[in-house]
Point group: C2
Chain length 379, copies 2
Amino acid sequence: MRKPRLMTPGPAMVPEEVLLELARPVIHHRSEEAKQVLVEVAEGLKRVFQTKNDVLILTSSGTGAMEAAVVNVVPPGGKAIVLNAGHFAARWVAICKAHGIEAVSLDTEWGQAVDPAQVAEALKQHPDAVAVFGTLSETSTGTGHPVKEIGEIVAKTDAVFVVDGISGVGAMECRQDDWKIDVLLAGSQKALMVPPGLAFVSVGPKAWAKINAFDSPSFYFNLKAAGAKAKEFDTPYTPAHTLILALRAALRQINAEGIENVWKRHERMSDACTAGLRALGIEPFSARPAEGLTAFVVPAGVKDSQIRGKVLERFGVTLAGGQGKIKGKIVRLGHMGYADELDVVATLAALEAALSELGVAVEPGKGVAAAQRVLLAKN
Amino acid sequence: MRKPRLMTPGPAMVPEEVLLELARPVIHHRSEEAKQVLVEVAEGLKRVFQTKNDVLILTSSGTGAMEAAVVNVVPPGGKAIVLNAGHFAARWVAICKAHGIEAVSLDTEWGQAVDPAQVAEALKQHPDAVAVFGTLSETSTGTGHPVKEIGEIVAKTDAVFVVDGISGVGAMECRQDDWKIDVLLAGSQKALMVPPGLAFVSVGPKAWAKINAFDSPSFYFNLKAAGAKAKEFDTPYTPAHTLILALRAALRQINAEGIENVWKRHERMSDACTAGLRALGIEPFSARPAEGLTAFVVPAGVKDSQIRGKVLERFGVTLAGGQGKIKGKIVRLGHMGYADELDVVATLAALEAALSELGVAVEPGKGVAAAQRVLLAKN
């Protein structure tokens, strides 16, 4: 037996009860029953995002939501500042480029958190920037960025702060309204515990003013159209409504646990994972690990593919490799959404066994024990 | 008991075996297992589309695929001819407008089939048109259009023929390569028997030449990126891969029946439905009914909402109303995908009961009998 454990930073594991919703007979997406699902989901998403905004539901992957934010907020020929600190942050630059938007790339070394002072400086240098595009949790490096502090800085300017929270929302503390995030994005397949196919865009008043000021060259991702429909608990086009039904079930679970407790669980998993790796002599890649995943540097003498291959083959544990310029240099261990502390302990145990078998000098049990100590102290 | 029968032109019913795939534990979308699903799905889609092209898979509703076709095929400022014969065909015009593309709207009365001779004339008048945007099955009017004949005409010009087959592919005979359709679109939630969330774009060589000639202002829907990834049985961004797994199961069923038999089944359902309605004195709305749905004119003395309400309340049968300018004037009865002849007979029986109760002079049994006669003759 190889019991599957999908410990990747998205798609992440989905609760059995949520999966079973997907096996239900398909209803019509414009029925009263479907509308009531959207009514409940709207409330649940607001709690998760900590916002009074309508949270718009797009049928797309998270990248679709990123493009929606770019093309609706920044007019063609406009300028934006990108907090570029990883593979996914770099996507903001690529999307801007595709649409003839000038992206001022504020580069931060991968694995480091963005420095809010540099954002303030960039905004001074570029007072004509319409938006600042940032990231809550950079999935490629496992880094959490100080979006609260950056939000305070951007709020003092005319620019809007757009945050990719695709792998962060629901895993890391993030309070959209209090933290002055004008547009916050999320994806279904990460901490929200649903399979991929849905993306979310929560738009605040300052951002709506930008959006309403011009006709965006977009149709499917037109946020004005989506915003108008959301007021009636509807969507402009046929949504992936069976995934929305699943989302309702997932949001019920999140609500039952309480979003603050969900954040704390992720913090515990993150701290335990980092402590466990350190006890094995393995270095976390990020200076500020994100709560939903832990990236670690591949130990000398082995390849990332050997580690991932071994834990998968021997134990059914799936881990992710690096992306872009750090491909082969790190391994990413996801602990978001439907993952608990015991999943982290189990994964560390698998990792210890795999590393031992690969000839890396680790002391089996040491990582697990360190993780357990964190969990006991933090309970 | 009200046994649900979703007789709408999308979302349509999904086979139980396909639904059960969606309840399986989520695997990683970049795993070998996920790739093998894409390999099999690629073959299955080619059979359904009757093409040698790679059929690109987008995570979006059908409208996303329409926008992808527009922005990738026609450069900004370019010109296109739209065969505008319904609510969804009109969407081609709206998408062109959103992107600064000139849409020459060739208007056909709703419910009538597009006249190929008019397309030939329009192409003569607009030799600079980059594309002709048409529809296989216009879902809003229940009309099948002569795309084979139009394909022959467009093929003689430099323009490419782009066909919205969202509700048509898998229901109506359509042979992309033989019929010279340069770009053919489909959606998951119609005749392909999967819940909504996936759209398909099959691009032929003449269209690739147009697409490769400029940098499209698109990122998520960039077909060059999707085309390159499809060669490796991959997608540029995280796809709704649990829906793709479901699609594999649906395509296996379609393949087991054989696509030609699937088309014939839809033709039988369409003919039986039309005959049944006519026997009750009810007029089909379309001069050329599409194989996947039958639209009929609301009889005098009742409202469409009364008919739909009655069949739903009494029998659990869901029908759809009209859209756009014919809202309230027609009812649409879907028989696509996971629908068989007995579903049509059952729905006609429900309709007879509902109309009788609403005081419309119909003779119960007469519609059903007429439908049965068609089915017996066509078996």
